[in-house]
Symmetry: D2
Subunit: 327 residues, 4 copies
């Protein structure tokens, strides 16, 4: 009965939520597990097979979500803990080893604040590929081989992001790609308070724009780890969900078998999504909802992600000196 077709979310967590309820808490081919402390909640969604993948509308693989309201605040202690947790989970996906070469890819448009997360993280990555030779012998073994690029978006380059990264990959020959992107959430409450990791790669612009050739192991020839933060909610999705919420609450008040209930269900089944899109003209499908303070939060989230990536790839760096390090 539920249909996720029109709904834009990049979070596996939310796709699962939309497909389950108290009566049907499980999805075939999908394993779900959660752990929680006073700072954050970490959820793992494993899509195990094609059945799960089809139901969820997402590729087979592991999706880890770190949720914490502290991401929105300027709380150094909480940020440290989130950075450490992110760094540990990233390590589980990347399995860093000596001499492993990493290419960090910052997706998104640096001119559009809520889409600038990827490029901002890239600016904070400690790249070493070009100076490995000149790093002091005694720490060289605990320093990774790291390069990073922000390829820009299709509308500015005229080139699919996957093509650009493929071309660079063929020359740089990394062992793993880590792609950072701003995402779209379905729920306003997850904006700027959620980080999703996955080993399935990513489709550039899936969040705020159209789907493109994905960056994944199949297209790139090396594993692609995706790290994303939802920074916006698609305006049409927000309207649709609020609408459904209010109608559902009406159904509950009026009883499911009443005449009202039936007409309300009728409304729900109508193609109301088209009406919503037309309310967003002339920007349909191209408007997003974002909080006022987005600029400051994006800076903070870029710090957290860049620090976690730097810690994973350069063992010499730990949480206490994560910002003190430069090669």
């Amino acid at each position: 009965m539920k249909n996720i077709g029109n709904i834009r979310t990049d979070l596996a967590l939310e796709a699962r939520e939309a497909l389950t309820n108290e009566q049907a808490p499980e999805i075939d081919g999908v394993i779900y597990k959660t752990e929680k402390d006073d700072i954050m909640e970490i959820t793992t969604v494993d899509i195990e097979n094609e059945t799960g993948s089809q139901t969820m509308g997402k590729p087979v693989g592991t999706y880890i979500t770190i949720e914490s309201e502290y991401m929105r605040d300027n709380d150094i202690q909480a940020q440290k803990k989130i950075t450490e947790a992110l760094s540990q989970k990233l390590g589980e996906l990347i399995k860093p080893e000596k001499n492993k070469k990493a290419l960090i890819v910052g997706l998104g448009n640096w001119n559009v604040t809520p889409d600038a997360l990827g490029p901002k993280v890239v600016n904070r990555i400690l790249v070493t590929r070009h100076i490995l030779e000149s790093i002091p012998e005694d720490i060289r073994d605990s320093v990774g081989n790291v390069a990073a690029v922000s390829p820009g978006v299709l509308g500015i380059t005229g080139i699919e992001t996957a093509e650009i990264i493929k071309g660079i990959t063929q020359r740089v020959k990394p062992d793993v790609i880590i792609a950072i992107d701003a995402l779209a959430a379905r729920s306003v409450s997850r904006i700027n308070s959620t980080i999703q990791l996955s080993d399935t790669g990513i489709s550039p612009g899936a969040g705020i724009g159209n789907c493109r050739t994905p960056l994944n192991e199949e297209t790139m020839g090396v594993p692609v780890i995706a790290v994303g933060v939802p920074t916006v909610v698609d305006a049409a999705t927000l309207v649709n969900d609020t609408f459904d919420g209010i109608l559902t609450s009406m159904l509950e008040k009026n009883g499911y078998e009443s005449q009202t209930a039936k007409s309300i269900k009728h409304i729900c089944d109508e193609d109301k999504f088209d009406d919503i899109l037309s309310a967003l003209e002339p920007y349909s499908g191209n408007m997003f909802v974002t909080p006022k303070e987005v600029d400051a939060v994006i800076e903070r989230l870029s710090d957290i992600i860049a620090n976690a990536v730097n810690m994973v790839l350069h063992p010499v760096i730990d949480i206490e000196d994560v910002k003190n390090f430069s090669f």
Copy 2:
């Protein structure tokens, strides 16, 4: 029956639209007039008396709206025509005279793109107050006495904008204040394609934030002309309106006397606005909807407004050399 209480719009045009329909096209105490060519539509809403003011929820005065889809495009010819029209309408409100001193106030927060219109216009104003003495004799008479400030927003200053401007006004002693601000529209189609002028002053932050002490003739002691462009739609307003639109279309399909119609009206009358706000948690009342390309459009609109203001205040400048001039 219609209630504009929860709806956030800064446009008199939209307030009027919400209060009229085909059956009741007139509002007591409000005069409405429109002119149109192939580039733009200019609408004048005159709120004539207290009756009109109470119905509209806006002060007595003249509100002129210039609407043109060309504002969103990079079309130099259309921009020239819009600039000239804006300059002419501004002139009607300001009634510039020799030796009249103008203070331009750029409201809004320069760190938040859709709120940065005011400060961006101020950056482009040709200020002359400090150099009038040194301007060549032969053009001095056709140059105005212009100063400009961007006071910042309450959350950053801790001081009401009206207080700051009052303090500056008492020292600079302008004959007229022109206040520029980003506004909130109700309709997505008006975003970045509408300029509203009025002689009633303005409430800083009314668009995206709370109401504050207004800047108007009463508080400042000199006439305050407001120039605004809607750059966002409040997220709750958007959801509400889309909701109403869909329900209305249902009513039309089902007939107004059916059982369905009655239950639908029931939904409409419920306090659905609270449900909408709670869907926007934890950002309720603080999220806005904006198109992706907002950065470029704001630059363009700042050019149009600053050029029009410069033309009105400095008679020596005409549309052909509006950008060539610097003192």
Copy 3:
């Protein structure tokens, strides 16, 4: 013989250096004292009377300079120590008391990176003036009454900064003004690694631009504490000083009484400064020298200064939670 007339420096420390040497280490009416640890050096220059003031070309008062190369680096531990030292020295000048009202003024142009220090600090100040009533009773006594403004620069406003601040001061009625500005140093090595405090006020734009009406106790009616960081060296000053350095080293090699020495002194005495200015045409007096990484360093210095100011004015905040606090 030495003449500081053409030289642009805002640092009392550098003015003193230019006027003393091993043979004449003291200046009449000026007391000098220095303390040093492994992180920073703190120098106090007290100009005690008119004699000292005239020689130094600076007003009577106390000038405290904190110098540390760590300001340029991203070293959290060193930053904490610098912040604490700055906060303590600020406290000595401000003498904060219960219910004392402070107005923070961010001088400079937010559109020009090396001049944006003041506005960037203002963005990070915890302003409370507008919400004092709503602060919980139990902490209200340890929270100050703080407002903040960034008035912009004369070229953009057409109004002298001192006039704007005077107007705001008359309405806000603070007990003390703290003015933050980017300064010009004479020595490249002091750029972005020095913070100067003084109780003498400040002349907006003295660093990169012309002298204007000062902000000081005389003009404002309340004490004005200045906090500044040199972010540029004036290009003409840099050329001049390098020139003198090389000629002096020639004199030392050739002996002071030789024919060469005499011709070299002749060169020094010529009005070479005009030649230097003409080499900087068409930008003479308007070019500055700045390092490439200026953007990142300015962010860091804004953090240090804003944190120190917040700690001094709000006793409830200490160094461990300086960034965690928001009211």
Copy 4:
């Protein structure tokens, strides 16, 4: 006798100036020609053979320089003429043909204002490679096949720019590369008022940084046209040149055979460049001189270059609608 070794200039025009004088106005293997009107001066320096290349320290090829003080001003008429001249000269170097594929490369760092020219031009390029299919039949023949990238700088990516562009080139297979970069001039008067074109390619970061693998026909496999604007003068070069200028004027006043002249020549021959670099510590070789208004001028120059490139590559666009076009 003259030595260009220490001097940083990216302009062939300035390299030639440094090597010629009234007595020796010609360089073997270098042809020089100039044309001038009331708006601009266009100079062509042809380095014809290895002899010329070695003397000039630049590759064999054609260097065209457009100089105009109007580039610094906001003068629309002059900008149109400069854009048209640039477009024509670009056309001579690119020789555009039907179906020719162009890749525009914006070199430099978008986070450092005077180095952001390349990325800013790329943002304004009308890219079509991804939408050629959907362009209306009737204009398709007069629209080019254009892609564009801003690869970032080595310090941020860890990858030589030439490697990134080589990788992208191998996938996109353009027929010509147009590389845009900010340059370093030797003379302050050429900053932001000069555009240099050449068919010899470019070394990323040659202007403000170290030399890297060049982007040229040899390394890329397709012709590389370079377009650059000097936005800075290296601080050490500025000091050195001013120094030389003053000493030369001394020589002229004192006669070339006097004792003074000899000691002054001695000074000139000393390695004063080291003294200059040490005066710039701790930033030696990394400080640049730039005018205050750099931000606004860079925007304007990006417009001129992007418009000229768009006109050359898309015949459908002419100077009257250069900004009206979007596909």
